[in-house]
Symmetry: C2
Subunit: 608 residues, 2 copies
Amino acid sequence: MLSSVKRFLIGRPLKSTELGEQKLNKTKALAILSSDALSSVAYGPEQILIVLITVSAAAFWYSIPIAVGVLFLLLALILSYRQIIYAYPHGGGAYVVSKQNLGENPGLIAGGSLLVDYILTVAVSVSAGTDAITSAFPALHEHNVLIASVLVVFITLLNLRGITESASILAYPVYLFVLALFILIGVGLYHTFTGHVPADLHTPVGTPVAGISLFLLLRAFASGSSALTGVEAISNAIPNFKSPAPKNAAATLIAMGLLLAILFSGIVYLAYYYGITPKEEETVVSQLAAETFGRNFMYYFIQGTTAMILVLAANTGYSAFPLLAYNLAKDKYIARMFTMRGDRLGYSNGIIFLGITSILLIIAFRGQTEQLIPLYAVGVFIPFTLSQTGMLVKWIREKPKGWQVKLTINAIGALISFLVMMTFFITKFPQVWSVLIFLPLLVFLFHRIKKHYEAVGDQLRITTCEPAVPIEGNVIIVPVAGITHVVENSLNYAKSLSADQIIAVYIAFEREDERIFEEKWKKWQPDVRLVTLHSYYRSIIHPLTKFIDTVQHKAEESNYKVTVLIPQFIPKKSWHNILHNQSSLLIRAFLLYRRDVIVTTVPYHLKQ
Amino acid sequence: MLSSVKRFLIGRPLKSTELGEQKLNKTKALAILSSDALSSVAYGPEQILIVLITVSAAAFWYSIPIAVGVLFLLLALILSYRQIIYAYPHGGGAYVVSKQNLGENPGLIAGGSLLVDYILTVAVSVSAGTDAITSAFPALHEHNVLIASVLVVFITLLNLRGITESASILAYPVYLFVLALFILIGVGLYHTFTGHVPADLHTPVGTPVAGISLFLLLRAFASGSSALTGVEAISNAIPNFKSPAPKNAAATLIAMGLLLAILFSGIVYLAYYYGITPKEEETVVSQLAAETFGRNFMYYFIQGTTAMILVLAANTGYSAFPLLAYNLAKDKYIARMFTMRGDRLGYSNGIIFLGITSILLIIAFRGQTEQLIPLYAVGVFIPFTLSQTGMLVKWIREKPKGWQVKLTINAIGALISFLVMMTFFITKFPQVWSVLIFLPLLVFLFHRIKKHYEAVGDQLRITTCEPAVPIEGNVIIVPVAGITHVVENSLNYAKSLSADQIIAVYIAFEREDERIFEEKWKKWQPDVRLVTLHSYYRSIIHPLTKFIDTVQHKAEESNYKVTVLIPQFIPKKSWHNILHNQSSLLIRAFLLYRRDVIVTTVPYHLKQ
């Protein structure tokens, strides 16, 4: 039953050899890996204006030089990441680059930072998309958390189906969004050139503004840089590309950079030209669209595709998180389960983990995850800085042909990323201080986990040739609850094992009962020794364990092994299990984890 | 760790022999068993007025004759239940009485109805109490569901500690509430006699009112009867009384009846005399208290104790539900776990089940459980009617000394209860129709469960002397994941069992790996046969099960038993478990439930 539901939701399992068919071509890759970056143009320009308005609307012209700065940063990042893609064609992005060039801890900081960041990406972007939807249908507003959670479940299922399938479905909204914004920017520019827009809506570039400060401009620049989150996704996901993977990935990265640059500068310019002021209740893009088209079909087309891309930005997290988790797990810093491919060849544990944690975040913040945006931005620029610095060290160390150019590119990237990161810390400390707590904690945890795996490996590895302690004989203990076929079945099995001793144990809650049972037993199984124990506290486990400890103690002296043989009847239908006391399960778990005894379950399958 | 938290919350475990000390004396029993009934005077009188106001305020004088009717019903119920207590001193109330005298299905209807009703009692009364609290502190209002859930958890813990302890704590609020209402009624009556209250606030009894109808009066009567819910609790809980239990229970019942009669008639009379009109935002009791004392200390004392008793009314459910569940479980209609006494000698599974289900109800209805009140009232009068009818049949059948009087009392009780029940169905059908669906479903489920238990019993019982199929030999299959100490340990154990054949099974995901492993194995364990299986879908369970099936098939032909021996290493700290694939757990569960093989786990305890 369960497995057919699973088939329906995610499709038939794929053979390991079908992996190649699950790879992405450039068009699909661009769609699913750039939705995060592209969607940020929906709020990035607005972030700049929100900072500038604190001075006055006259300061809006500063958005133009700031946007130029952001574009320059974008250029630096794209060029840097292009170099990373060729240098590290197996993916892993910031984590791998930092670890190999800067050492273990910088690598873990970058990796941990990105790991958390992808969870934030999902939570934040799905919440933002949900807000966009419920703004259009206010009746749904009170169900925000539910809608966001359902969307996350939907995206999770899509990704469990496999990346090519999710790419086929998700490509449409992404390209529609790009188309919609192209039309908006095109028509908007046409209006400005034809003089449809009065020139007095904006102050000319260069107008002196009272009260402007470097701090404020830096802050506006940092806020605008949040439009660049998601740029690193492609470099993490190279293994998902069709071969030649690095070449295809690099081409996709360039295409994404171009799209991002056009959309970002178009929106900043139009917002400046139209003199748009950021409002609490309406986004800048919405105002722009309304000014340009009025509230007609085009307006709703733009709003609709924006809502969709905000939700789909989550998908970038789904592409990158499982691969990053795989890399960390391969290096034993997180649980090994993240290295397993699921039925559809995706790293399904990573996908499921991402889905669950982001739903938890959405519930914890009641769908109001905007508070997490600064945290999320700073979490992106930490790995940006580390990976660029890593590349820097790599070029200096290896000095390949033309290394000076490469070095310059990465040096500029590292410097700007570092500046943006510091600006975040300085200008938004109250929102981002928690990074300074949880990142070290995370790195500590990574080390603990690795230490554990190494300790386990050492203990399991057979290094010496000394033989294990020989087993001289076996004692079998059978807890019995009555005179039934289940018990008979277990005793027969015990006898067939030619053990040196078989002891049946009966636990009585009342004295009377004890005597009666002993008499019955003598008649039924005269050749099996019965021990009855009295339980004062109506517990089965405690007297049983005490007895087992005594037997175990004696057995160890002569190298005997103790086996506890648990008779268990298995009902025909699984719901019947709740009708029966699960004592055998409890006993098994307790003994296995607390005592060094072997636990055997002898099933007796009921026919009705 | 867990067990010390448990100790702290519910206290040390008690020996079975300490059961006697956990019994209740009359004062404590009255407090914990009557809180439901007494608390209903806080809303019963109001319910009458709410129906009458639909005609006009002039109709309020009808509340006096209606109250007389309710008192008469109360008298009939108290006398009837007194007879039930003596006739069925082992408790069980409506379920036992109906089952023994009317047959299985009427008994199950009564039992099922009460079972659901106690859950509703808890949900409804805790929600009502929470409303009273958050009315006083409006800032808490948005946390209603959380507060109600915490209160349920608190009451659940109290009851897990044991009934005498909960009685000691809960007695104070109950008696304080009675005291508070006595003062209110006393002072109120004093005011009316001394003429402090103008006589024109109320229309004289007997004033003709236009638009009054029998239907409406019946409806008002039925609504007022909801003040009688909880009357049956004592008859269910006789085993909790100190001996002589029936005598003490009967005395407690009479005391409760008297208190209930005084409080109910006092409030109805004062409300009538003061001309109180039910309001949306203020309860009748609150209005009465404000009129009598003004908003001073006494007013808050009355409101505070009312809120407390509303919460504590839940406790009646906690006293009665576990005993009723015990009776149903003893007769095999519900899961056997309800017959177990916990550490503190209460039927803890029933207590926990009640707590969880009522929290779920509170969450599902977002703390607005008032909608459930009619359902709850009708669910009380069904068992009332059935148990009184059962007593009727009993007297006719047995004809003991003075049976005519007893018959008359129960006949009147049965008739009135039936009328009230029918009134509910006729006047509030839209709210109570669901009873007609879920009660039959519940009865069906009871029968299914009983059938299952009987089928299991038949299959386990050893009736014939024919011996089980003899076991001619053993085949042991050991799934291995590598060349480690864990595997070595398991193989040694397998060898010590003198099995006829030991087969190690290795599952490879890649062809290359398969060959390498086989070579290594030949050097390491040349005497143990290794079978390697290739898994196309990266699943361990499927190829393994297929292989086991083949072996099993051959083994069965010659009466060999197949044992699957699972090597498992046990990490030192339990949190380490999440770092390791739980394949062994999965394999064990799958094989035990789906295949007829014996599953043995050989633990290898890690030292670090």
